[in-house]
């Protein structure tokens, strides 16, 4: 169980790491990188599955079900679109 401050430190470090990751990205990668980071927040799927597994009653189960469906679309759609965009950079390093 994470206490508030441990979570706050993790939050802070992750925010700095995220900032550093895109600090020097060439413009041609902006769109693929946005798509890639969209895929990464698809990790929400693990939370959605945990919640659906323990949901009680039809209301919780239906909302949990919709959550898993939406999260899976985020993951799969995010992966496919990023992969397709980045495919274009294959073997085309500049000069």
């Amino acid at each position: 169980m994470m206490t508030g401050f441990v979570a706050l430190y993790i939050f802070l470090m992750a925010a700095i790491a995220g900032y550093e990751i895109v600090a020097r990205v060439p413009v041609i990668l902006h769109t693929p990188l946005m798509s890639g980071s969209n895929f990464v927040h698809g990790i929400v799927l693990v939370g959605a599955m945990m919640v659906l597994a323990e949901a009680q009653g039809s209301l919780q189960v239906s909302v949990g079900f919709v959550g898993v469906v939406m999260a899976t679309s985020n993951v799969v759609g995010g992966y496919v679109s990023t992969e397709r965009m980045l495919e274009m950079f294959h073997g085309k390093e500049k000069k």
């Binding site: 995220g18 890639g36 980071s37 990464v40 945990m50 919709v66 469906v69 993951v75 496919v80 500049k94």
Partner: protein
């Protein structure tokens, strides 16, 4: 709280998965490593998903009657999400990718809100300190607003929705924001509101629907040209929402991956806005159309010189140095393959042909490079703005295809123009300018373009695909 995922293999797998997601994202930031970056992140995601599924409490109990029903339900949900997303993601042409990113992104925000809703319904969100309901409800708010906004972004880029000017929208926004704020507080302290005769489940429902409407209304007036910045902003928001819900369900992978996307996405949004010469505040708090509408009305109508596609082809065949400036019109017409065919024919005749790609050519930064690469154009023929801009003056022909604002000389000289100061390609400095354009209308920003009226400019009117096909057959007949 109450989700106990404490076993060692599970925690270790989450650790590795998180590492892969973060390193994968890092690798996506450099052209050389970008392609395997998404694979790293993909492996991380797969690991996290499989391990979570394997350790889900209760669902693997096959001896007790009915408990595996839940497992089947989860598998159905996974399939129901995965199959349409896979199908649409594979099938959609690359030109329509930006709106697909918007919708997949928005669904992630919806998922974060769904997690919060179940945690609130079950009462788990209220078991610990006050931090839990605050973070759960705030995450749901951010995720839902971003979901609503992403739907609008999708509809706009898909061309199914314009930018309606709602009179008094600031008042509507204000009132709606106030209602959402009250509902947010009510959800954090649900014991305060039994007086209204609302149950907690309907309170959550009203809260989510209102937040969704707020997201829609806020995004409605923003013009299509600014959608990349909008989508990127919502991407960052949803990352944050996922990080928040990660705290609520005590899942470190969600906290770290979500927060990193939140921070990376925020910076990426600012960089994108800068590349498009738009400020973040401008996009969100004024409409592009406000300024442009004024600019478009000024000035008397003048005549453009037009030229037949075959004549244009002949002109190009007997020139020596051509610079092609591709724009959104090329992407819309899906003419990148035909264009490459034309360019190869010109090259066979000994014409030097290069491509000048503006950072924001297409609909999003970097979009045009992707489209040209898809058509097979070698990377060393594609030049950035800084690399090629001084060469226009020596070029025989600049061939502008469906580009407008990125070659508008007003950006250099006209201080009153809304695009003043934006770096542009100096296509007007070539000895001759050929412009393939569908009609005489103004560009995406609504601004008239001096270039089209230039003495050395000839317009070749028509859909890029048709015009280039005619040019190819024109070349064959020479």
């Amino acid at each position: 709280m109450g989700h106990s995922l404490t076993s060692f293999p599970l925690q270790a797998s989450y650790f590795i998965a998180t590492l892969l997601l973060v390193l994968g994202l890092k690798r996506m930031g450099s052209p050389r490593t970008a392609r395997n970056g998404i694979v790293w992140a993909g492996v991380g995601m797969l690991l996290a998903t499989v391990v979570t599924l394997a350790y889900l409490p209760g669902v693997w109990n096959f001896t007790e009657r009915g408990s595996w029903h839940r497992l089947v339900l989860i598998l159905i949900a996974l399939a129901a999400g995965a199959i349409p997303a896979w199908w649409s993601g594979r099938r959609v042409p690359l030109t329509e990718m930006p709106q697909m990113v918007a919708i997949y992104n928005g669904l992630g925000g919806g998922a974060a809100a769904a997690i919060a809703a179940v945690e609130i319904y079950s009462g788990r969100a209220y078991l610990g300190s006050l931090a839990f309901p605050v973070i759960a409800v705030t995450g749901a708010l951010i995720g839902t607003v971003a979901f609503g906004g992403s739907i609008v972004a999708f509809l706009k880029l898909q061309g199914w929705m314009g930018s309606p000017r709602i009179s008094g929208r600031h008042v509507i926004n204000g009132i709606l924001s106030l209602i959402v704020l009250l509902l947010t507080i009510a959800n954090i302290f649900p014991s305060w509101v039994p007086a209204f005769g609302l149950s907690i489940s309907s309170l959550v429902g009203v809260f989510l629907v209102t937040s969704l409407i707020l997201g829609i209304i806020v995004t409605l007036p923003i013009g299509g040209a600014d959608m990349p910045v909008v989508i990127s902003t919502y991407n960052a928001c949803i990352g944050l929402a996922v990080g928040f819900e990660g705290f609520v369900v005590q899942n470190p992978a969600m906290i770290i991956a979500g927060t990193i996307v939140g921070a990376a996405g925020t910076l990426l949004t600012i960089l994108m806005a800068k590349a498009m010469n738009r400020s973040f505040m401008n996009v969100w708090f004024s409409g592009f159309g406000d300024v442009a509408a004024v600019a478009a009305t000024g000035g008397p109508a003048r005549v453009m010189n037009s030229m037949d596609a075959r004549d244009a082809a002949a002109t190009m065949a007997y020139s020596e140095d051509i610079i092609v400036v591709p724009g959104y019109g090329l992407a819309v017409a899906q003419a990148q393959h035909k264009l490459w065919e034309l360019v190869q024919m010109l090259q066979k005749r000994g014409v030097k042909v290069r491509f000048a790609v503006h950072p924001v050519a297409g609909r999003m930064p970097g979009h045009m490079s992707v489209l040209l690469a898809e058509a097979g154009v070698p990377y060393d023929l594609i030049y950035d703005l800084e690399e090629i801009n001084s060469d226009f003056a020596n070029a025989d022909i600049s061939l502008v295809i469906g580009a407008n604002d990125v070659v508008n000389p007003a950006a250099r000289s006209d201080k009153s123009s809304p695009i003043y100061g934006m770096p542009i390609l100096n296509a007007d400095q070539a000895k001759q300018v050929l412009v393939i354009k569908r009609g005489t209308g103004a560009g995406f920003s609504g601004i008239q373009n001096e270039l089209f009226f230039g003495a050395n400019t000839h317009m070749v009117f028509g859909d890029a695909q048709d015009v280039i096909a005619k040019m190819i057959s024109g070349l064959k007949e020479l």
